[in-house]
């Protein structure tokens, strides 16, 4: 079973003044879909680029099945990183770029590529730099879904995509994953759209991992409690409150952990918290710390 391990990883910029990643320890297991969340500049893209050996860590290491991925052809051939930058010749036609990637990867799924080209209505005769931002993302998405790699990292895959194309992407991602299970690490800000897709959540804030758990586990212990402020305050007293919202006399308290044994006061409602809400609250709390 393949396992991608990140151990004691640090990354500094500007001669050590700016610490982008601080002692990151996380593992990505095979055949899972991870959501990698965090604010802009939290360090998600830097982490992904270090995993794919585009970027170097200041200290620490990335291991694939115990082998360091740095300058390791065998390990790197199992990792694909779809990043926000253009890595392919910008003046080349999309069809030619597809052909190039196909020649580079034995086992590249040409049938899936053709199917996706039709579904997304991508004009393969266009040159890459003539495509809109959305279609640039689509070309990269198609490549990422068709390469035969065991670890696929998608950095903002839905950048510039309209609702229809985002929907196709999510559907095709699930279909592709069901046909050929492999690990996806998806970094996006549109959390509400992928919270049903991800099996695990990793959240980075200020270069540190503040959440790393299965999505089910997180959902089972994150609650929103709303009702009259005094009753909510009394009920959540002593719990791990990660956020509060007030509207007049009413209040919503967001908590993590087990609910108290005591009876829920009348007028107070307890609901499972949406992943997006949880992430936002955790970010806000982290800002306050």
């Amino acid at each position: 079973m393949d396992k991608l391990e990140i151990k004691n990883l640090n990354r500094n910029f500007k001669f050590g003044k700016q610490k982008v990643l601080k002692n990151i320890n996380v593992s990505f297991l095979s055949n899972k879909i991870y959501g990698l969340f965090g604010e802009n500049g939290a360090g998600k893209s830097t982490l992904m680029s270090i995993i794919a050996d585009y970027n170097f860590p200041t200290s620490g290491e990335v291991l694939l099945d115990g082998e360091n991925v740095h300058d390791n052809d065998n390990a790197l051939s199992k990792i694909y990183y779809m990043n926000q930058n253009n890595m392919y010749p910008k003046n080349e036609k999309v069809a030619k770029t597809f052909k190039f990637v196909q020649s580079m990867y034995e086992g590249y799924d040409v049938n899936l590529q053709n199917k996706l080209v039709k579904e997304f209505q991508l004009n393969t005769k266009s040159r890459f730099n003539k495509l809109s931002t959305g279609y640039k993302s689509i070309m990269k998405i198609i490549i990422a879904l068709c390469v035969p790699c065991e670890f696929i990292m998608l950095d903002e895959p839905t950048l510039g995509l309209d609702a229809r194309n985002r929907d196709i992407f999510y559907r095709e991602l699930i279909e592709s994953y069901t046909d050929h299970p492999r690990t996806f690490v998806i970094s996006t800000h549109i959390i509400e759209e992928i919270d049903k897709l991800v099996s695990d959540v990793v959240m980075i804030n200020n270069g540190k991992i503040i959440l790393n758990d299965s999505a089910d586990n997180i959902r089972s212990k994150a609650y929103s409690i709303n009702g009259p402020a005094d009753l909510v305050d009394e009920y959540v007293h002593g719990l791990d409150i990660i956020g509060k919202e007030s509207l007049g006399q009413y209040e919503t308290g967001h908590i993590m952990g087990r609910l108290p044994e005591k009876e829920i006061p009348s007028g107070v409602e307890v609901n499972k918290m949406e992943l997006q809400k949880l992430i936002v609250n955790l970010m806000d709390r982290s800002e306050g710390d």
């Binding site: 052809d73 790197l76 199992k78 930058n85 890595m87 020649s103």
Partner: protein, 246 residues
């Protein structure tokens, strides 16, 4: 396998660009300048040489293709060496053929530097031509590696860094040449005689009278091989470095 595929892809691209360039440049010269055949071929070979040098300087493009295909930096270095060797081979074949035909069909009239400086060192003409081919390969490969190393070095910087580095290199070369000239012409080399060193590294024996084409090509070959090895090492170290995102 990926390295081989990238190499094939790259060579196809390079050769395609070079072919297009040669055809366009050749046709333009033929139509507008009405150049004679050998003069035209010679000018094509020089411009082709220059164009190839510019092409191999573009390191970041190759880095993008290789890293996005899961090829390590060691693999990238190997791809660079294979492709530079192949391109060198093709350019050398082209230049050598022009010089050879020029020599045979144009009454030995050729503007080849080798012909003017080293041709005739060996008693046998076949050996002279073989030596010319080998020295040609070594020289072109040295220049390719030199410019690729420069391109690799520059690709470590952003646009501002590139401009500053370029001007620093340019200034250093000029300051070096000016200092050397002042020292040579003003102070007249009273204490240090560089002539034997120059003769040793170039294989030219300028202190003796003669036609000037009796230089020893083996000396220049050894010099270029040593410099190429040094550049290969520097290129390897630079290839392994972090490439800044453009």
């Amino acid at each position: 396998m990926k390295e081989l595929d990238l190499y094939k892809n790259l060579i196809k691209r390079y050769l395609f660009y070079l072919l297009i360039f040669s055809c366009v440049f050749g046709l333009m010269n033929l139509i507008f300048n009405h150049s004679p055949l050998f003069s035209l071929l010679h000018s094509i070979s020089y411009y082709l040489y220059g164009y190839t040098v510019a092409l191999v300087t573009l390191n970041y493009y190759l880095f993008n293709l290789s890293i996005s295909s899961g090829i390590s930096r060691n693999g990238l270095y190997r791809v660079k060496l294979y492709s530079l060797s192949t391109i060198t081979f093709f350019i050398n074949i082209f230049i050598f053929s022009i010089n050879l035909f020029s020599y045979i069909l144009n009454n030995k009239q050729t503007d080849s530097i080798y012909m003017n400086l080293y041709f005739g060192f060996f008693n046998n003409n076949i050996i002279n031509f073989i030596s010319m081919f080998i020295i040609g390969f070594i020289t072109i490969f040295f220049i390719m590696i030199l410019f690729n190393t420069l391109g690799t070095f520059l690709s470590l910087f952003n646009v501002l860094g590139k401009i500053i580095t370029f001007f620093v290199i340019y200034a250093m070369i000029h300051i070096g040449l000016i200092s050397f000239s002042i020292y040579y012409f003003v102070f007249g080399f009273k204490n240090i005689n560089l002539q034997p060193t120059f003769d040793l590294i170039t294989g030219l024996n300028t202190s003796t009278a003669g036609g000037g084409n009796t230089g020893n090509p083996i000396s220049i070959a050894i010099t270029l091989i040593l410099f190429t090895c040094l550049l290969l090492f520097i290129n390897y170290k630079l290839t392994k470095k972090f490439q800044i995102r453009k």
